[in-house]
Amino acid sequence: MTSPASSRARTPSRLSLPLNLWNALTIGIALIVALPVLVVLTHLFMPTDGIWQHLGSTVLPRYLGNTLFLVVTVGLGTFVIGTGTAWLVVMCRFPGRRLFEWGLLLPLAVPTYVIAYAYTDFLQYAGPIQTWLRETFGWSAGDYFFPDIRSLWGAATLITLVLYPYVYMLARAAFLEQSVCVLDVGRTLGRGPWRLFTSVALPLARPAIVGGVSLALMETLNEFGAVQYFGVDTFTTGIYRTWFGMGEQVAAAQLAACLLAFVIALVLLERWSRGKRRYFHTTGRYQQMPEFALHGGRAWAATLACLTPVLLGFLIPSGLLGYLSVQGGDALFGAAFLEFAGNSLLLAALASIVAVSLALLLSYGARLNPGRITRVATRVAAMGYAVPGSVVAVGILIPFVWLDHQINDFMKGQFGMVVGLLLSGSAFILIYAYLVRFLAVSFNAIEASLGKVTPSMDAASRTLGQTAGGTLRKVHTPIMRGSLIAAGILVFVDVMKELPATVILRPFNFDTLAIRAHSLAADERLAEASTSSLAIVAVGIIPVILLSVAMRRSRPGS
């Protein structure tokens, strides 16, 4: 078997070896990240005694109705606000545009529970606005109509206000990356700004916009702090209540599985409607973007359109929190706060580095091996984003504690050492939890960006002798630099805001700003919680501003 023919035959197999390695790596990472979700899914096949009947005949219809309402309203709201403002800021000239470019991102730093705390105090029946109305006009309860902030509508509005930046950011990046030539062709063919938007730019930006909206929707699905505070029963509060309140772990996990099925259906629906169309850049030629200069009323309308979300989603809630903190802030403000903030920052930084690296590997692995297995694996790995944090936490604890017990028993048997629970009592498990929860954030952003790099780039690079890894490092990474930074910062901000998994998984004597705000708010000390809530926002702004700088730099051709 040493004939020349067989040695020639081996050459292609040696070539494909790195590809197999990539394949294994992709699937391996995906499985590790998907593990907690899979653990939760195994509950699907366990029996429950009558609990479903009870849920189905009492609360389940309400959970479903409320959740669907939130998904539809938040989906529409974030799409309209995010895409609309992104188009204005990229393509039009109007007063304040430079400011709005980054200002529109600011609500990203505000966790949903924080915006809920801020507005409730202000708008509720016993709050300053309604009290003032009653005193001024001599009304009493029932004499007048005032929208109840603690309602489904209130929750939908507030969630939209802090989640639209996901869509804005990805849509804006997509509009910026669009080749001027395409837009020029559109203009030459007589399209005005509106038609250019609807018939050229919007369809081209579709993957990015869908990515943004689906991020916002997944956040909505597992949103816990605000809906619980408002007493709006959703699937997530239902899972929490069934699991931790009724002690029905199996039924709760089955509810979580239903939530997942819903998400999978949404994703599939979008894929199916996109069909076989793919979106690549066909040219690297960029010029100064042709801008539409708006004048008079239209210019001010654009300013107002961009100002409103910033005002409602960031400026007003921060102002209200600032006022509350001055009135009666947190007694621990000072050194303890620096520690909370330090912990928050450290966790967020570590988690974002890991999440971006893995997302890059995963999306590139999927590009190299566009088979069904890789596609399914990467999708499953990103599912954790749609699972409520407290459920993810339990899904993580089950395998980790098992592993810890194995290690402990081994050490005891071999060396007579009692090491206790090594991994599950450490901050390591937190980083892992954030990865499980937020890999989708970095993955979506990076996948969308990688998808726009035409495959002929890869072909050229490989023809010129680069390995798969070399191509990623020397070709793709520089092209996608802006998107990578954006992905990292998104994860960073999400980790800063994360609450349910952090509460249950963190080690002893380890508190973050979010934990502090939650402890005080859970104890109904809203005024004191305002200080740490404001601090979360303040620390979160820094990366958001960095993000906007990174996005501006990444703009090709300017």
Binding site: L21, G231, T237, S357, T467, R473, E524
Partner: protein, 343 residues
């Protein structure tokens, strides 16, 4: 090569992450899982460390999640003591088998029998009263003097009470089940739902505010939220408290519904001796002052000093139903709430 360089960064991050682990290896220490979030607790732990030299590590979280974590960690877990704030939760802990029986003469002597688990699985260290709050200009204290009155059709559209997701309401309904049976308790829950002034929203303090602002004339809340408003630095808060009147319910029959804040030693506690010492410390007058009055609760030890406002209320009748019954009836209470449409 390039692959190694790609993975080096995340690997380094993971290693750094595990280095963050708090090592539980100091000689004398105590690991506490606590569902209490009061700043006075820090003083409590400091006092214990000063007295005994034992270092205290704390993990604060939500009761149900802490119990879940304890259950998953099993006997190799690091926790020594679980502190939580409701009999329903203590029962859940017991039910999930996370507590170890403790035999302590000090605790048996200091704590009244109904504040202890019969087998020493947990001990109650403070008491809270689920009280009624009325607008004295709108209703008479005679008309609303029992929990049963909350379901009286005369109060239609007048009652503010929070969501049934809340354990305090679950325990209240559990006590109704214990006293009246399931059917009557369900009828009561339906009656209260029919009397809602608004859909349940907010916490206990918000219900008291609801009475003060005229949205409803009767509210249900734990007593300490009211004391907190009374003692607030904020003038607006004090005004709210002054507009409402506290009513201790059922004084002519079983007495006001009482709940406990308590703690127990965790099964497999690595520092069991220290854990028992800590519980005994909690029963001392000094610790009772911090544990109970730090949150304006009634101390479990009768010799301990009362907070000024609490002392001014004088004696009132408390329901002496054994608090473990509240836990036993909890799952049924949750189902009744669901059926009654109490959000």
């Amino acid at each position: 090569m390039s692959l190694h360089r790609r993975t080096a960064l995340p690997l380094a991050a993971l290693v750094a992450g595990s280095a963050l682990a708090t090592q539980a290896t100091a000689a004398e220490e105590l690991n506490i899982y606590s569902a209490r979030h009061y700043d006075s607790d820090a003083a409590l732990y400091a006092a214990f460390t000063e007295e005994t030299g034992i270092e205290v590590n704390v993990l604060e979280g939500d009761s149900d999640q802490l119990i879940q974590r304890l259950k998953l960690e099993g006997e190799a877990g690091p926790a020594d003591v679980l502190i939580t704030v409701d009999a329903g939760r203590l029962w859940r802990g017991e039910h999930e088998d996370v507590f170890k029986s403790v035999e302590s003469e000090v605790l048996n002597e200091r704590l009244p029998a109904h504040m202890r688990h019969p087998e020493g699985k947990w001990f109650g260290f403070s008491q809270r009263v689920r009280a009624l709050f009325i607008d004295p200009t709108a209703v008479d204290a005679d008309e609303v003097s029992r929990y049963e009155d909350l379901a009286d059709p005369a109060l239609e559209g007048e009652v503010c009470i929070r969501s049934s997701n809340n354990i305090y309401n679950q325990s209240l309904l559990a006590s109704m089940i214990a006293h009246h049976g399931e059917e009557e308790a369900e009828a009561w829950a339906e009656g209260v739902v029919a009397n809602f002034a608004r859909d349940p929203e907010g916490g206990d303090t918000d219900q008291i505010r609801g009475v003060a602002s005229g949205e409803c004339s009767v509210a249900v809340a734990n007593h300490y939220y009211y004391v907190r408003l009374l003692n607030s630095d904020n003038e607006a808060d004090r005004e709210v408290a002054e507009k409402v009147e506290i009513v201790f319910p059922n004084q002519d029959d079983r007495g006001a519904h009482i709940n406990v804040g308590g703690a127990g030693v965790v099964k497999g506690a690595p520092n069991e001796e220290n854990a028992v010492r800590f519980l005994e410390f909690l029963a001392s007058d000094e610790a009772q002052a911090l544990f109970a009055t730090g949150n304006y609760e009634f101390p479990a030890v009768e010799s301990a000093e009362l907070d000024g406002v609490l002392a001014s209320w004088g004696d009132f009748k408390k329901d002496d139903l054994n608090v473990s019954v509240l836990g036993e009836n909890n799952p049924e209470a949750v189902r009744i709430f669901d059926r009654a449409g109490w959000r």
